[in-house]
């Protein structure tokens, strides 16, 4: 196994009851790179994403087979602490979901949940995270106002700041820009490119242009199967599998 793989799956299978949603997916996730997961609706890319931080554990009736590694260690082994795992692997959802609290309380939620009480340290973390998410200047004068009053794009960046405050290593993003307008989307994409230097990012997207714009590696999913994986530029210009070619050229999807 290569040392540069932050995460890796080996023959990963997922069943909802008896229905097989993921068929034997083996995929590497390289460190400090952006890996995009593309494919038509229902192909399993979101399901796959959620296996990486064990969010599928929350859905009753799911079974997992195969292995998922983080820094070379299996994350589905019985002695793994999910709470700690989700601290290292963070997730951003499609629809921004800030808590019904102030901006400050949202961002400080994670560190507080892990036991941090020192007010000064929390202040520092909140400021740092909001800056990292490119939101600080817009909200610095109203940190105590409700997060629900922010615009969609701002809320999504707030959710990012909230995530960055727990200092994860991997960021999982499930169609983070699909609910946003083009300008907010562009800001979010710039943010992702910036964050890549420090974090390993996996992004599920419906938008192929987006995948081409911001990702280093791309993986194409179809009907629960990982059809092809490769360097983004190559996958889009010279796809190996006919199905991939059909999808990226818009013949279906």
């Amino acid at each position: 196994m290569l040392v540069t793989n932050k995460m890796e799956t080996q023959d990963l299978e997922l069943y909802y009851g008896t229905f097989c949603a993921l068929h034997s997916v083996s995929l590497p996730i390289l460190t400090n790179q952006v890996t995009a997961l593309i494919g038509p609706s229902g192909c399993g890319k979101s399901t796959f994403l959620r296996t990486l931080n064990r969010m599928n554990d929350l859905v009753e009736g799911t079974t997992i087979k195969g292995k998922v590694f983080l820094d070379g260690e299996e994350i589905y082994s019985p002695d793994v602490d999910c709470v700690n795992l989700r601290k290292r692997i963070g997730m951003v959802f499609q629809k921004p979901n800030p808590f019904p609290m102030s901006i400050y309380d949202n961002v400080s939620y994670g560190p507080r949940a892990h036991g941090l009480k020192d007010r000064q340290k929390l202040n520092q973390i909140v400021e740092k995270s909001l800056k990292e998410a490119a939101l600080f200047n817009e909200v610095k004068d109203r940190l105590n106002s409700s997060a629900l009053q922010l615009s969609g794009g701002q809320q999504q960046r707030l959710v990012m700041a909230r995530l960055l405050a727990v200092e994860p290593e991997v960021l999982l993003m499930d169609e983070p820009a699909s609910a946003l307008d083009p300008i907010s989307t562009s800001k979010l994409e710039d943010l992702i490119l910036d964050l890549k230097k420090q974090y390993t990012i996996i992004i599920v997207t419906h938008n192929m242009q987006q995948a081409a714009r911001i990702s280093d590696y791309t993986s194409f999913f179809l009907n629960g199967e990982m059809v092809e994986y490769g360097i983004t530029k190559e996958l889009f210009t010279q796809p190996q599998d006919k199905r991939t070619e059909d999808y990226v050229t818009g013949r279906f999807g």
């Binding site: 929350l58 989700r86 959802f93 808590f99």
Partner: protein, 278 residues
């Protein structure tokens, strides 16, 4: 064709209006009847003086205090159990037979007539456990009576908290209990508060179960082991034993004013809570 459809609609709207007006009229006549007959007996003295001569004279101070004491005590017992059960049923219990049995039990509890609660409380708390007629016997009994109301309201409220909040919290590495404590419960607070207020409403008007468990002593209660008389019990005794219709109406007026005030406070509190959360 069209003409008769319009006529039909007008007739129905008329009937609906009539039903609504009838309901309001009934409410107003009952409340009005009490107020008209009772206002005369109201005075600062009435509220601050102790009853004398079995309630024929004097005031209702000890009774007001007893009512508040009993209501608060039953809430102190019912709220943690009710909210705790609701959290268990919605967040932790695996869907299946266990949950259905518990839910059936709480729904059935809601249907039990209050006199039976009174009998149960009398046999268990007053006699068997030796607590005698006391606030604590009454509070425990009333707590069981209002438990289904609180559980139901809390459950509905907790279920309405969007899953996206829970997912967001868990995805940050927070534990399930922390998520419930810091995100779910605060969001569910307005609904839980409603349940508590509905519970207060039910317990303040309760008469039969209270007589059987808290007794009907006129003295000022100083501890939870003292018996006490509540407003509804007092007005029942004054009227049925022919002691003083005048004082009975006055007591009823105080009770109604108390209930209306609680409703106002409840609505105000709800608006404030929802405003903070939304």
């Amino acid at each position: 064709m069209k003409w008769s459809a319009k006529l039909e609609e007008k007739v129905f709207i008329g009937l609906l209006w009539a039903s609504a007006i009838l309901a309001i009229l009934v409410l107003f006549s009952i409340v009005g009847h009490i107020l008209i007959n009772g206002i005369a007996g109201l005075s600062w003295e009435f509220i601050t003086a102790e009853p004398s001569r079995m309630g024929k004279e004097g005031g209702i101070l000890s009774i007001i205090i007893g009512t508040l004491y009993l209501t608060v005590a039953s809430l102190i017992v019912a709220t943690p159990i009710g909210v705790g059960s609701a959290i268990f049923l919605t967040e932790y219990a695996k869907k299946g037979r266990v949950v259905r049995v518990i839910r059936f039990a709480t729904e059935s509890l809601a249907a039990v007539p209050s006199i039976i609660f009174g009998l149960f409380g009398f046999v268990l708390f007053v006699i068997t456990l030796g607590m005698g007629w006391s606030i604590i016997s009454g509070a425990l009994t009333i707590a069981f009576m209002i438990l289904p109301t609180i559980i139901r309201a809390a459950e509905e409220s907790i279920k309405m908290v969007p899953d996206s909040y829970r997912e967001g919290s868990l995805a940050l590495g927070a534990s399930k209990w922390y998520t419930i404590r810091k995100v779910v419960l605060p969001s569910a607070l307005p609904g839980i508060a409603t349940g508590i207020i509905l519970g207060i409403g039910r317990s303040i008007g309760e008469t039969a179960a209270v007589i059987l468990t808290a007794g009907s002593s006129l003295g000022l209660p100083t501890s939870v082991f003292d018996p006490t008389r509540t407003l509804s019990v007092h007005l029942y005794i004054l009227a049925s034993e022919g002691i003083s219709m005048e004082k009975a109406y006055a007591t009823a007026t105080v009770l109604i004013i108390l209930i209306i005030s609680i409703n106002f406070v409840a609505n105000w509190l709800m608006a404030k809570l929802v405003g903070r959360v939304a």
